[in-house]
């Protein structure tokens, strides 16, 4: 009973995520206009020709929406991959190191945790200027210490098991122990962490664009669209609501998948509904 219930959530999540990825990837092929073409009066309402009306400059909201998902989803994916990958390396390295090295790494790691992610991203942007690649790398970098902490905790538990002790006793190389003994045993927390970090990446990348520090006009980007059209939300809500809903559906979908995977595979919250 509990299992099917959880699986239903995972399926809904997969459908939601699939829809948004499809829009982001293939949307531009179906766009009736280009993203920077002026086609009507500013804030023109919805009509037969204009599915969602025009934005604050008179560009087609529907077309801009179809173009606007690529960068945010692409950047979020890259930064998540980068951050979770780096965190995985640090976590596995620390867990398999001697206890003094381990605690030194983790203390340094803890220091980085004191910066809220968005604040650290803003700090770097203030020093280096805006660039979407810099933002992807920085967002990834802020994930790393958080992932490292989770992975180290999971790997430290594995390190205590007999097969690791046997491998160490046989004299296996550390590199081999990390790759073929530790890594396969932390895949579940790793996947959960990836899902979680992906939702945060979307939030951060979109927030940076929303704050006007990411992609610059006239680019089509969901975060930027929200920011640009916020002032005219009363007359033309669709220019804001469409990208907002897309971001919401995507993050909710990922969270559904992650949550049900965490419950079924790892038994986090195993005391939930049976």
């Amino acid at each position: 009973m509990g299992l099917t219930f959880k699986q239903a959530y995972a399926k809904i999540g997969a459908v939601l995520v699939g829809i948004i990825i499809a829009i982001a990837l293939f949307g531009p092929l179906f766009a009736p206009h280009t993203f920077d073409e002026f086609i009507d009066m500013p804030n023109a309402p919805r009509s037969d020709q204009l599915l969602l009306g025009a934005d604050y400059l008179g560009r087609d909201v529907w077309s801009r929406f179809l173009f606007g998902g690529r960068t945010i989803i692409g950047l979020s994916f890259v930064s998540t991959l980068l951050g979770v990958g780096l965190g995985l390396l640090i976590g596995l390295f620390a867990a398999s190191a001697q206890s003094r090295t381990d605690s030194l790494i983790m203390r340094m790691n803890d220091i980085l945790l004191a910066f809220p992610q968005i604040v650290f991203v803003l700090l770097v942007v203030s020093g280096f200027g805006t660039s979407i690649f810099l933002i992807a790398i920085t967002v990834g970098f802020t994930h790393a210490p958080r992932t490292a902490r989770i992975i180290r905790a999971a790997a430290a538990e594995v390190m205590e098991r007999d097969f690791i002790k046997a491998a160490v006793a046989v004299g296996e190389k550390r590199q081999r122990i990390i790759l073929s003994e530790l890594l396969p045993n932390v895949t579940s927390p790793l996947l959960v962490e990836f899902g979680l970090r992906m939702t945060y990446s979307i939030g951060l990348v979109a927030a940076v664009s929303f704050l006007g520090l990411g992609l610059q006009p006239p680019a089509a980007d969901w975060g930027l669209m929200i920011n640009e059209n916020r002032g005219s939300m009363t007359v033309q809500p669709w220019a804001v609501l469409t990208p907002i809903f897309a971001i919401a559906i995507f993050t909710i979908g990922i969270n559904f998948i992650t949550d049900s995977f965490a419950k079924v595979a790892i038994g986090i919250d195993r005391k939930g509904k049976e």
Binding site: A114, F115, P116, V124, F210, V240, K273
Partner: protein, 346 residues
């Protein structure tokens, strides 16, 4: 009451608090170096960044002098850090205003916003978590589980705009969409302005805390001493309020502290949505204007707040866990305390 006084008299907690504060100092120093390096030690320099294409040799020189950019890096740091110790974060890039003066009201406004959100969010999430645990698997539990799962997924600026759409501009027009506060007054002089930003932060924090509270409460409710209390024939209400709740809150304290620290970052974006006159909006303006002294000051304060909240959480955990309290007072054994608190904190 007497027990608590006895405990303080033994000095166990006092030593522990002192130790934790001392351990926090090198961390804050490390944070300040990081903040400084991330901004001041750029390949180009802050003066070039600030002036961008309006730079003339004379103006560059003036700003460099202003920020002591011609000194070696360690001297710049020493000068800056020396000022920070006296709550002097230097002047803005143009040298016109003291950063501390500029930030004073804004810090207070942000603290007001964080406090008003925390005061609502923390009791609310404890109540939701406890009630969901007690009604586990029933309607209330299922509905709140779904809602917290959805809310936890949403980025805070998405929540903020939903809130504006619903309550300020489109559906209902009850609260102002822009949090206008008269310059020279603090945010509580206009409580209406506080409603939507606070509501957004409450919606962002409550899911996490209530889920942890629920899990913690379920674990406690299954323990033997709760069974014992029930078998003694105590009313369910007494069992929950007197026996289960106090034991379930301790593990939640760390999460609450982490969420309060998160609030310090979350306010940045939420303030921007509502143009709330706190440190978040001025930080974003300064990032755009490349006014590094302000960015440095705010970043360092937020990071230091995290360290302070962590120390408070550790103390709170010990105070709310009799087992740790007595053990610590008796043996002064820090390793035990840390292990029981989850081990991997500082």
């Amino acid at each position: 009451m007497k027990k608590i006084r006895d405990f303080f008299n033994q000095g166990g907690l006092l030593l522990f608090v002192l130790g934790r504060i001392l351990a926090g100092i090198p961390i804050v120093v490390a944070l300040s170096i990081l903040v400084f390096v991330a901004t001041q030690a750029l390949p180009g320099d802050a003066a070039v960044a600030y002036l961008a294409n309006t730079a003339t040799p004379e103006r560059l020189e003036a700003i460099r002098q202003q920020l002591n950019l011609d000194d070696p890096l360690w001297m710049q740091y020493a000068q800056w850090a020396g000022g920070v110790l006296q709550f002097d974060f230097g002047t803005t890039v143009t040298g016109e205003t003291e950063v501390t003066t500029l930030l004073k009201e804004r810090i207070q406004n942000t603290l007001i916003l964080m406090a008003s959100s925390g005061i609502v969010a923390i009791p609310l999430s404890i109540i939701i978590g406890v009630y969901a645990a007690v009604r586990r698997g029933k309607l209330f539990d299922n509905v709140t589980s779904l809602f917290t799962l959805i809310l936890a997924a949403l980025p805070e600026f998405v929540v903020a705009i939903f809130v504006v759409f619903l309550l300020a501009t489109n559906v209902f027009q009850i609260f102002p969409a822009i949090a206008f506060v008269d310059p020279g007054t603090l945010a509580w002089s206009n409580p209406m302005a506080l409603v939507l930003p606070s509501l957004t932060l409450v919606l962002a924090v409550t899911p996490y805390v209530s889920r942890i509270m629920r899990g913690s409460m379920i674990e406690v409710m299954e323990s033997e001493y709760i069974q014992m209390a029930r078998l003694k024939g105590l009313s369910e209400r007494t069992v929950i309020v007197r026996h289960a709740l106090p034991n379930a809150i301790a593990p939640t304290i760390q999460v609450i502290a982490l969420q309060l620290a998160w609030l310090a970052g979350g306010v940045v974006v939420v303030e921007a949505v509502f143009a709330y006159p706190g440190i978040g909006t001025i930080m974003i303006d300064s990032v755009k204007g490349r006014d590094l002294p302000i960015v440095q000051a705010i970043t360092l304060m937020i990071a230091a707040l995290y360290v302070v909240l962590n120390i408070l959480a550790d103390i709170g955990t010990i105070l709310s866990t009799p087992r740790l309290r007595t053990r610590y007072a008796r043996k002064n054994d820090t390793s035990d305390v840390f292990a029981a608190m989850g081990g991997d904190e500082w």
